[in-house]
Subunit: 133 residues, 3 copies
Amino acid sequence: MPHLVILYTGQLDAETNMKVLCRDLADAMLTVVDEAGKQVFPTGGTRVKAAQFDNNPQGGSEDYAFVYLNVRMGKGRSEATQKRAGDTLVEVTQKHFADLFAKRHIGITLQIDVGPEVFDNKHSNIHPLFAAL
Amino acid sequence: MPHLVILYTGQLDAETNMKVLCRDLADAMLTVVDEAGKQVFPTGGTRVKAAQFDNNPQGGSEDYAFVYLNVRMGKGRSEATQKRAGDTLVEVTQKHFADLFAKRHIGITLQIDVGPEVFDNKHSNIHPLFAAL
Amino acid sequence: MPHLVILYTGQLDAETNMKVLCRDLADAMLTVVDEAGKQVFPTGGTRVKAAQFDNNPQGGSEDYAFVYLNVRMGKGRSEATQKRAGDTLVEVTQKHFADLFAKRHIGITLQIDVGPEVFDNKHSNIHPLFAAL
């Protein structure tokens, strides 16, 4: 947590609804399951954050748009699960931007990181609410 | 540097003083020592940054609060030192949020990363001020 | 992408032009080549972002300035290429801050990370514009 952080160039706010993208991605994250059919991203802890990215373009127009999506996933997932999560989020993202992609210059990158944490502590009274689901 | 970055949902600004938390955490970081009793986080370089986190909650109330604390620590520390640093910061954080934790839904996650840096350059005229301490 | 993220203490905006630093660094990134003479950071995808860092100083004056530069580089580069990229960016950064460094307390850290990504998807209609260059 946060599981998904999006950085995007600010002109996109006038051309698409980033809040809708955030919600669609969060909904999609909850559908991802591992080999045992178990939910990968917990309902009580899945967060999506989007922040504007100051655009300092190189080698081209100021109007180029960029979207960078970074997921931080816990250790111990199989490669297949990591790929399933990635493919799910790419599909939602490309669908969201399909119209824009046909109309303007835009670059979209999605990466899933397995974080290099050496210490991890959670203290929550939200997770238990969803434990029985 | 930065050693500790905090992302938190914005409604918390009306319920607690995040600046106080930052200062308490920075103070606590300076108390962490390694096996040889040597300070882990240098006095001249220890920084704490807190930024509001856009809240896109899933599976629950918009009012859920989240705090994510991420420490970036240099390579080469023992597991015991990493754990000591984590426990120290968790203690300060849980004490800070104890009252709120009893009153509202809140999830707190603290992770310490050992960064994946392959190049590290420091250029500072501040560190020398504390070298003799 | 984003390749280079800069966090800096806000007082610097009154003392230096961070936008100029961003452009100079982006220009410098495009000059970095690998052993085969091939450009390391693609022209169509090289981004520099600078954001103000809330300053919570410890052990000293509130006026201490800090600049943290973090580059995220793809996997598979040689150590020599990583070092060349780092040295190039350090040179630009130190030149930019040389006057300030002589006048005020400031700490500058530059790190290059090789990201811990396990999934990487790019969808862009910008890269092809530069493919023939």
